[in-house]
């Protein structure tokens, strides 16, 4: 039944009237995602591609009680408010595309979401796609084909690259999840791996990490403890990145002794995880298990 985004996904688009929101609403709809409504404060009453727009999440939910997922395209300054509005209206999966949300704001709504049992994906994520079923995000659908490999990644285009490579070699994707490139994100590798572990449509998982933070190390510890039965392959970007420099993502920076490429690879290897040194090698490592 794949994870996070599936047949039952009924989507709300927050920030639907903005340039990005409008553009991707069109693409998601064309992909087959069921979009029930959109929200933009002050723009209630309009329609975008036949989708009704409301001023408040509350109004959208009242008219479309099946909504269970929201995607956020709201600009950084107002994104936090939009997320909290969604949480307070009991939307249980919130996918935040917006980049450059201050870390303090992210901490607050991530904590609040956790306390309320809400899943947050992102911020600064390309979103989530379950090929042939639905996409809630900005990734190009053409690089993803249905299959039984789960992907979880801190990156956007690199995920497309990896999926493209899998598809080229005859493999497919159950769900691909971008957890986001920021220093603090909602769900992290561990929670997504837990979902893949329970998902009958996923046979193996590819973890795409990058330098910075400790998310990969924390995952490796759980893998080492035997938390997962399914095969896991890892790839880490930033092997040659200099310390102290932010490499594109706010989270991709080696601070002090922490978050180095070597530390992540060592931890994965210790946990028995094969680490690909280049994207194309992922397929080769995967095929051992399939």
């Amino acid at each position: 039944m794949v994870i996070l985004v599936h047949e039952e996904t009924r989507l709300l688009v927050q920030g639907i009237t903005g340039k990005e929101g409008r553009y991707h609403t069109d693409l998601m709809k064309k992909y087959g995602t069921v979009i029930e409504a959109g929200v933009t404060p002050g723009k209630g009453g309009q329609e975008i591609f036949g989708i009704p727009v409301y001023d408040f999440v509350q109004d959208a939910i009242r008219e479309h009680p099946n909504i269970n997922t929201s995607i956020i395209f709201v600009p950084a300054k107002f994104a936090s408010d939009a997320v909290i509005e969604a949480i307070n209206n009991e939307i249980k999966t919130i996918i935040i595309i917006t980049e450059h949300i201050p870390v303090h704001d992210v901490l607050r709504f991530v904590t609040y979401a956790e306390y309320n049992g809400t899943f947050i994906i992102g911020p600064n994520t390309p979103g989530v796609i379950s090929p042939d079923i639905a996409k809630v995000g900005i990734m190009p659908g053409q690089y993803f084909r249905k299959g039984n490999i789960g992907i979880v990644s801190r990156s956007g285009t690199l995920t497309y690259e990896v999926s493209y490579s899998l598809v080229k070699h005859g493999l497919g994707i159950s769900t691909a999840v971008g957890i986001g490139g920021d220093p603090i994100t909602g769900l992290s590798f561990i929670e997504i791996l837990d979902m893949f572990e329970r998902d009958r449509d996923t046979k193996a998982v590819v973890v795409i990490g990058e330098i910075g933070g400790m998310a990969e190390e924390e995952l490796a510890i759980e893998i080492e403890k035997g938390r997962y039965s399914k095969p896991i392959i890892a790839y880490i970007a930033g092997r040659t990145a200099p310390p102290g420099k932010r490499m594109g993502h706010a989270g991709a920076i080696i601070e002090g002794y922490k978050g180095t490429y070597q530390s992540k690879v060592d931890n994965f290897r210790r946990a028995g995880v094969d680490v690909a040194v280049k994207p194309d090698e992922i397929v080769i490592l995967l095929k051992k298990y399939l």
């Binding site: 950084a76 201050p102 901490l107 904590t111 990156s155 933070g213 970007a237 594109g248 994207p279």
Partner: protein, 373 residues
């Protein structure tokens, strides 16, 4: 973004965190002025963004007027850890009874705020952690709840200070941290003076770039840094590119942080030397591609340019047009390599082909070519 010590002092003063007397000198005239405000024996601190300032000779202790002027003159313009000293902070010399450490930052694993304290100070917290881990204590603070009184009592006990003295430091420090959405506020060392005062005599603040974008009051720090940027950095910053200058000769332009990093790694793996990391970010229009290319085409350390675009949203014809425009505007003998995949891929490839540029499809094949040729 790291603040200079004198910038951090501004914020410390605004929040009334007790510090020693200081005076900022931006040149020799300034030094002479500060001499009367804070006569020697005092302290001269080079205003550079390096944690190793002390070890690199950036902190000096003149005892006489002569020493003061001599040391100061030497320090101004000196190169410390690769940075030119263009201002000096003159500080009152403090008789220290005890040095301690206190910082408020973000625990990324727990997704909470964390207060870090140590009963020793004056050295790097990672050094303290290495040599005296038992001296360090971390106190987690829930971002919704904020701190409770017991946190202050805990700090007081650990540092063996009266609760009321700790309040004078911690409460404004926490407010500074929260109201400016800081990533780090650090006092190191926090000192107890021989006459019983508690002073923050060295301080570090890291601001959140994402918050600076939104906050009018903090934007000035960016303007200030713009002046110190290289021409390439300035242009990259203006266009919102993520730009990192590296040591090699191959410029890598990609769309997306992960992909650009992976490309850089792959170049290295095949024996190439990346000289520029440039992430275009999302939605690379022809104009953005052109601007990015212009930056690296004007970089004399670069002799090969590799553009790797995996267009999802990005349209390949736009990218191709941007490349063509940049190449036509610039007389260059740098070699250009392009890998282009995505929307309107065929059109894009044709546009390039018409101008004699071959576009690869496979990433690794492209990388091999970049390194070999």
């Amino acid at each position: 973004m790291y603040l200079y010590e004198y910038e951090a002092i501004e914020l410390f003063k605004r929040y009334k965190i007790p510090i020693e007397k200081t005076c900022l000198a931006k040149n020799y005239e300034g030094l002479k002025k500060c001499l009367y405000e804070i006569p020697p024996p005092n302290v001269l601190k080079a205003q550079v963004l390096s944690g190793k300032r002390g070890k690199s000779g950036g902190i000096l202790f003149p005892n006489t007027k002569g020493e003061y002027l001599e040391y100061g003159k030497k320090l101004l313009g000196k190169d410390i850890a690769g940075m030119k000293v263009d201002s000096i902070l003159v500080s009152e010399r403090i008789d220290i009874k005890k040095e301690m450490y206190i910082a408020i930052t973000i625990d990324k694993s727990k997704k909470k705020y964390v207060v870090i304290i140590a009963a020793v100070g004056g050295m790097d917290i990672e050094e303290i952690a290495m040599h005296s881990p038992h001296m360090i204590e971390k106190i987690i603070i829930d971002p919704l709840l904020g701190y409770s009184e017991y946190v202050i009592r805990r700090i007081a006990k650990k540092l063996m200070l009266p609760v009321n003295e700790v309040k004078k430091i911690f409460i404004p420090m926490y407010r500074l941290f929260i109201e400016n959405k800081c990533l780090l506020v650090e006092i190191n060392p926090l000192v107890l003076t021989t006459d019983g005062r508690l002073l923050a005599i060295d301080r570090k603040i890291i601001l959140d770039d994402s918050f600076i974008r939104l906050d009018k009051g903090l934007k000035k720090y960016i303007d200030l840094r713009m002046c110190k940027m290289s021409e390439s950095e300035k242009i990259a910053y203006k266009h919102g590119f993520s730009y990192v200058k590296l040591n090699g000769n191959i410029a890598i332009i990609g769309n997306g942080a992960g992909l650009t990093m992976a490309t850089m790694d792959l170049i290295s793996l095949h024996g190439g030397k990346p000289g520029v990391f440039l992430d275009l970010g999302g939605g690379a229009s022809s104009e953005r591609v052109r601007n990015a290319l212009l930056i690296v085409l004007h970089d004399k350390d670069i002799d090969k340019v590799f553009v790797n675009i995996l267009g999802g949203i990005t349209r390949c014809d736009e990218v191709a047009e941007g490349i063509v425009r940049a190449m036509e505007e610039t007389k260059t003998d740098k070699k250009l390599f392009v890998r282009l995949v995505g929307n309107n891929e065929e059109i894009g490839r044709k546009i390039l082909f018409d101008k004699g540029i071959y576009a690869f499809v496979d990433l690794e094949e492209a990388v091999k070519e970049v390194v070999m040729s």
